[in-house]
């Protein structure tokens, strides 16, 4: 019980922050790892569901935490923990896409980055019947920044670090994604 209170910060104590937990995990503390898993289980499941992998969200979330344990010694507390975590999650999702044999479709969508591609995205959006379908129909590059910004509450700066792209690119992708969705919803109403 004492150990549990120590990990959880105790009934009155503050919750240990992510960096503190990661320090314990680096030392091989499994209880600290379990605490972190419980803390980020739902955000990760939500991330994978919004990325269109709702049927595999449990596996992918597990895969992300397995990677977190495997690469725990490489973690550097210079950036926000979620930046590290979502980088691992994104890699797990990309591997999943490749395994699913949809890499050709993925790369084709990934290439859609010019303004005209937004029109292509618009055509695809018209086929969607609900919000998730509209989200799934977005180009992958737009979808991932939108999911990270809207559903995971990440700042543009954090997304920029995770994806290794300029902040301005993050903003333009979010803008284009929201414009496409707004158009889609206007058509529907």
């Amino acid at each position: 019980m004492d150990d549990e209170r120590e990990i959880a910060g105790g009934p009155e104590g503050p919750e240990p922050d992510d960096h503190a937990l990661m320090e314990r995990i680096r030392a091989g503390d499994e209880r600290a790892f379990r605490t972190l898993v419980e803390r980020y289980q739902r955000p990760l499941l939500n991330f994978f569901a919004r990325m269109g992998a709702s049927n595999h969200d449990d596996d992918l979330a597990q895969d992300t935490f397995v990677r977190l344990w495997k690469y725990r010694m490489k973690y550097q507390p210079t950036a926000k923990f979620t930046t590290f975590l979502y980088t691992l999650a994104r890699h797990a999702w990309l591997d999943h896409v490749r395994r699913q044999g949809r890499f050709a479709d993925f790369t084709a969508r990934y290439a859609e980055e010019t303004p005209s591609s937004t029109d292509g995205g618009m055509r695809a959006l018209r086929k969607g019947m609900d919000i998730q379908a509209a989200l799934d129909a977005l180009p992958v590059r737009q979808r991932e920044v939108l999911v990270l910004a809207v559903h995971q509450g990440q700042t543009y700066e954090e997304i920029s670090r995770e994806l290794s792209i300029p902040v301005g690119t993050v903003k333009s992708r979010v803008f284009n994604a929201l414009s496409a969705l707004k158009e889609r919803f206007r058509e529907k109403t």
Partner: protein, 264 residues
């Protein structure tokens, strides 16, 4: 046309993150609200336990693979060594000396010498199936014995060498070089006899009569082309005419084997 202005306004309203604007402010407030209305997946039971179970399983598998790795390397090294040995054996078989191992060759040479010694006639000659070839066969057998005795006039072959040389000297002194049976020696036979006389005369301590006979034999030298042909036949017995082989019999075969370019 409105897109640049909208984007500019979007950047002004969203300096750091997409705002949720509960009061509906913002260019995309409605879109963001709709997106956030999507239900979040529920937390899964025993999720952390399943993650830990998977980690332990994968670590165990990785450890097992790590333990198997030295064995794989041992197999690879053994396979590489086997390939190297096979290559070396192949190289030796293909490019190496055709002669048998030394021990076997020594035993075979000793047996050939014993056989030639045993086949010598009391008068020092070696008899061929064709009498006209007696002189040639005696010359070849004599040269073989000389070659395989370190001291031919005092060693194990000394008696046979002396007897053979005396026979050839006597043969040379007969009218027109006729053989024992009275058959005239052919040109090739005379050349072979001359070669044997010169070989014996060159030995240290050779009798004066042998050297004199060798001097006389120089007139029996055939033309250079013929001499080269005979030399080739002696060095490469496989090219010897079949009639010669039949006439010389086993003594000729043993003698030619001893005269072959040797590896010892």
């Amino acid at each position: 046309m409105k897109r640049p202005d909208e984007f500019k306004r979007f950047l002004e309203e969203n300096p750091d993150r997409v705002r949720t604007d509960p009061d509906g402010r913002g260019l995309f407030a409605d879109v963001v609200r709709r997106l956030r209305s999507l239900p979040e997946p529920a937390a899964r039971e025993d999720f952390a336990a399943r993650v830990m179970e998977r980690i332990l399983r994968e670590e165990a598998e990785a450890e097992a693979a790590r333990k198997r790795r030295p064995m794989r390397w041992a197999v690879r090294i053994a396979a590489a060594a086997a390939v190297a040995v096979l290559c070396a054996a192949g190289w030796r078989a293909w490019f190496g000396p055709a002669a048998p191992p030394f021990a076997a060759e020594m035993a075979r040479n000793a047996a050939a010498c014993e056989f030639i010694l045993a086949e010598q006639s009391p008068d020092g000659a070696w008899r061929a199936a064709v009498p006209a070839q007696d002189g040639a066969l005696s010359a070849i057998a004599l040269m073989a014995l000389v070659r395989h005795d370190p001291d031919p006039l005092h060693g194990p072959h000394a008696d046979a060498v002396r007897g053979g040389m005396d026979h050839l000297v006597a043969l040379q002194s007969r009218p027109q070089g006729a053989g024992d049976s009275g058959t005239r020696l052919g040109r090739s036979s005379r050349y072979l006899v001359a070669m044997a006389l010169r070989t014996g005369a060159a030995l240290p301590g050779a009798p004066t009569g042998w050297r004199a006979a060798a001097g006389r034999a120089s007139q029996d030298a055939p033309p250079p082309a013929e001499a080269a042909r005979l030399n080739r036949l002696l060095a490469h017995s496989g090219t010897m005419p079949e009639t010669w082989k039949q006439a010389g019999g086993p003594v000729l075969a043993a003698s030619l084997a001893l005269l072959r370019p040797r590896t010892l």
